[in-house]
């Protein structure tokens, strides 16, 4: 293993669960306001996961009071407290940006069959 990979591997977080586009996730983000630190939760559908070494990011979209909100999170950021996978969606694409054009009932994503059984 070369040194560059070694340095990158130290940065990569091993405790993050695996998920992909279409999944519903709950992201717990640490937010520092002056002295205080609190945790904010952002729950939504993953639009895409950009793979890279330390550079990986993922986009989460949710509908907040009827307005679509998207947030980009660095996958290996130390400021991610934890990520919960709420459900796995059944989608055909790796990037489901078509979801931006849909709303209401059309914007639903079916969950994977085995996920329902698990519950």
């Amino acid at each position: 293993m070369n040194i560059l990979q070694k340095i990158e591997r130290e940065q990569i977080r091993m405790d993050i669960p695996s998920f992909k586009a279409g999944d519903t996730v709950k992201v717990h983000v640490r937010i520092i306001e002056g002295e205080k630190e609190r945790i904010q939760v952002f729950q939504g559908t993953v639009l895409r996961v950009k793979r890279g070494a330390t550079n990986s990011t993922f986009v989460v979209r949710k509908i907040s009071d009827g307005i679509g909100v998207e947030r980009v999170f660095p996958l290996n950021s130390p400021y991610l407290e934890r990520i919960e996978v709420i459900s796995e969606g059944k989608v055909r694409q790796g990037r489901i940006f078509y979801l931006r054009k849909l709303k209401g009932k059309a914007a639903r994503i079916k969950t994977k069959a085995y996920w329902d059984k698990k519950k």
Partner: protein, 210 residues
């Protein structure tokens, strides 16, 4: 500029690290040292004082006899690259002594010298960011040309230093104020914030700033 000691290194590539406040920092990883002192130059003998250090070991048979004689005195192996660091006071350095990454520490500012990537013979648009001419509306054969390069009978010449096409890159470039983000003495690695001139595997000289 203060004359200081430094290290020779090889650029390994770029990556990003997370800072303490969660921001991403673009960094360049440099394999630097260990650089043994090959020779000490003195005012009495050479007319100036400096230390000559070596980097990148290679088998002895690749060197010719005079080079082998010069580098072999310290029994530290043979080197592909030799560089001199001009110093006012060379007392603390002895031939054979190894300079390692420990001379730098995180937060230091360094002078970085490398050879930039060669772009070949480049036109004015690439080399000097000229605007060129429109691609249509009657423009023919002039889309990437420099246009006029001077006036008429007075001054009757093209001024010196006029920006013209020519060789771009493959030139010595120095960054005066690069920041050291981390030092890893176990791997002989220095991590610099931002970019470093030259291609991956290019040779870089890092000099202490003060």
């Amino acid at each position: 500029m203060k004359r200081t000691v430094g290290l020779i290194g090889r650029k390994l590539g770029m990556t990003t690290l997370f800072a303490d406040d969660g921001t991403k920092v673009p960094v360049t990883v440099i394999q630097a040292g260990p650089c043994p002192v090959v020779q000490k130059k003195t005012v009495e003998k050479d007319g100036y004082s400096a230390v000559q250090v070596g980097f990148d070991q290679l088998p002895g048979h690749k060197l010719n006899k005079p080079q082998k004689g010069h580098q072999g005195k310290q029994d530290k192996g043979y080197f592909r690259i030799l560089r001199e660091f001009s110093l006012e006071n060379t007392d603390e350095y002895e031939p054979g002594q190894e300079l390692t990454t420990e001379i730098f520490k995180p937060g230091d500012r360094v002078r970085l010298t490398g050879t930039s990537k060669g772009k070949g013979f480049a036109g004015v648009m690439k080399r000097w960011n000229f605007a060129g001419s429109p691609s249509s509306h009657g423009h023919e054969k002039v889309h990437r040309k420099p246009g006029a390069i001077g006036q008429c009978a007075y001054p009757g010449k093209v001024f010196k230093g006029k920006k013209m096409p020519g060789q771009m890159g493959n030139k010595k470039v120095t960054y005066a104020n690069a920041e050291v983000v981390a030092v890893r003495p176990a791997d002989n690695v220095i991590i610099i914030k931002g970019q470093v001139p030259g291609p991956t595997n290019g040779i870089v000289v890092l000099r202490k700033k003060n």
